[in-house]
């Protein structure tokens, strides 16, 4: 265990929580030496649609970290007040969910407050407003970044527990754990990696659609290569969610087995 965490820490030091925006060619460069032709082919296809990638640290929190940065950056660039108000309402709903589930308020309120603070600060025109550089800086600062990640973990766990009947079959497909055990062992602890269950729950809870582009070595039987993606569209039933008609996710993540990074469309 100690050795494992030592290795993890060492690996993690190499890359900040959230990296710089890099051209997509840097992704290809990663696979140049002895890389699989399928991957190179796929990256070529990707580069037709996507311009850049922003890497995140592979510390088990990469999905939440990627989501955090991509979402806040989107608000910073779009200055979409309506979206902020909408997500705020959903955050309040998540707070009520946790209260109903019996979480003591003090165990989650700091995390909620810190997220809302970041959300407010990316909207320009107030004293608290921050720039893109500041957003990057904060996302690399553990005392902000980990708190926002943990906020998302609370939201995800609350959503899964609230709709445990819906999530149960998916969780049973992953492990033999109960919904409760799953949240306890795979959602709430920091550093636990995310799966489609986490993504679905977070997307539903906040009402934010997420596109995940898959980059792996798989190819079609006939030898043709295409890049698959999956859109996580929030269920319409959830309050204030965009509904199923929200077809164009503004968050795109690149998934390579075991890791998520942020993708930027052209």
């Amino acid at each position: 265990m100690q050795q494992q965490s030592a290795i993890q820490a060492e690996e993690a030091e190499k890359i900040p929580f959230v990296g710089d925006k890099e051209p997509l060619s840097s992704l290809a460069a990663e696979y140049k030496a002895g890389g699989s032709p399928v991957l190179l082919e796929k990256i070529k296809i990707l580069s037709e649609q996507y311009a850049a990638i922003r890497r995140t640290r592979g510390d088990g929190n990469c999905f939440f970290r990627s989501f955090m940065f991509a979402y806040l950056e989107h608000i910073l660039e779009s200055q979409d007040r309506a979206e902020v108000d909408r997500v705020r309402a959903n955050v309040e709903e998540c707070r009520r969910t946790l209260q109903k589930l019996g979480y003591p308020e003090f165990t989650f309120e700091d995390f909620f407050a810190l997220f809302l603070e970041q959300l407010e600060s990316v909207i320009q025109g107030s004293e608290a407003s921050i720039s893109d550089e500041e957003l990057v800086k904060r996302s690399r600062d553990q005392s902000v970044s980990d708190y926002v990640v943990m906020f998302f973990r609370f939201v995800t766990s609350g959503e899964i527990r609230k709709r445990s009947e819906f999530f149960e079959p998916f969780i049973l497909g992953l492990t033999s754990a109960s919904v409760e055990q799953f949240c306890k062992s795979a959602v709430e602890p920091m550093g636990e990696e995310s799966d489609h269950v986490h993504i679905t729950a977070l997307s539903d809870a906040l009402g934010v659609p997420i596109r995940v582009v898959y980059l792996d070595r798989s190819s079609c039987d006939n030898g043709s290569v295409s890049v698959n993606h999956h859109d996580f569209t929030p269920v319409a039933g959830n309050n204030n969610s965009g509904g199923s008609e929200a077809v164009n996710p503004f968050i795109t993540l690149l998934y390579r087995p075991g890791h998520y990074d942020i993708l930027y469309p052209k």
Partner: protein, 302 residues
């Protein structure tokens, strides 16, 4: 409090101050915990030995250290009062403490950890690091001794806090049950302690443990080796319970052994069985007498 000294912007400090506040506004009779004035990352605590166990009536002091990364990293716990279950001045090896950091989660708190610690006391240590496996008699003796005085530990300021906590716990704690040596080791004594009037009170005491009200919390506490839990005792659910409101009643509530209600039931069943048997015998006798009258007593055999 020393709040002024701390950077309230520091998230760990903010969280810890909130826990102190929460702890003070929802006091429990089962435990008490406060940080040192000069360092809120250093806490003292005392827990009450769980009822219906050899620890009942004991007051066990200990020390908690919160890491700078709290609540992302777990607190560490150490007992100071000899108790026969955990070594003193040795970090306790539970999944809630920092021997198993991978199990800790920020939705837990010092309160959660203390409730778990109480629940773990009567469980089988199975050779876990820092655990002791004293006999029930030894543990009971230590429980009695634990009430005499608080342990001596650390700076005068810490000692003052320990003494304050001890006084508070003594005002709330039930006495160590009077158990004769023959009973101390027994597991199924039936007759002697059947003070049945205690049973009805005990029945409404099996509600919720203070601090365990929240089902999600208790479900999430993991024992380090769950499979080693003795089958007849769920370590998470503490059988004894005390509504925190009326400390006066608790002394009474704490007393009855958990077997008492069952004994009452047993006794009732016994009498019912005896009654039924008598009735059947009477009926049979009547029948036989009748049958005898017709000379058909041994029909089958003849």
């Amino acid at each position: 409090m020393a709040e002024e000294k701390y950077n309230r912007k520091n998230p760990a400090v903010k969280r810890i101050l909130q826990e102190v506040k929460e702890m003070q506004s929802n006091p429990s009779d089962d435990f008490m915990s406060l940080p040192l004035e000069e360092n809120i990352f250093e806490w003292q605590f005392a827990i009450r030995g769980p009822g219906d166990t050899e620890f009942e009536g004991g007051i066990y002091h200990g020390r908690i250290q919160l890491p700078a990364e709290y609540p992302f990293k777990p607190p560490s716990f150490m007992l100071l009062t000899p108790n026969g279950r955990f070594e003193t001045q040795t970090k306790i090896c539970l999944s809630i403490s920092n021997h198993h950091p991978e199990h800790w989660q920020p939705s837990w708190s010092v309160r959660t950890a203390l409730v778990a610690l109480i629940a773990f006391m009567p469980t089988n240590p199975n050779g876990a690091l820092g655990s002791l496996d004293y006999t029930k008699e030894e543990r009971r003796a230590l429980a009695i001794k634990s009430r005499d005085a608080a342990p001596r530990f650390g700076t005068p300021e810490r000692q003052k806090l320990i003494d304050e906590i001890h006084e508070y716990m003594m005002s709330k704690a039930p006495p160590v049950p009077q158990i004769s040596s023959s009973q101390a080791s027994e597991s199924q004594t039936t007759e002697k302690e059947g003070e049945v009037e205690g049973s009805s009170r005990n029945a409404d005491a099996d509600g919720t443990q203070e601090g365990l009200r929240d089902p999600t919390l208790t479900d999430r506490i993991i024992e380090e080796e769950p499979h080693e839990v003795p089958p007849n005792r769920d370590p998470i659910v503490i059988p004894q319970s005390v509504p925190a409101t009326q400390p006066g009643d608790q002394l009474l509530l704490q007393r009855p052994e958990p077997r008492v209600p069952r004994q009452a039931d047993d006794r009732l069943f016994t009498w019912a069985a005896v009654g039924l048997t008598v009735a059947i015998v009477v009926l049979l006798l009547k029948k036989f007498l009748k049958a005898g009258g017709h000379g058909a007593f041994f029909t089958d055999e003849s």
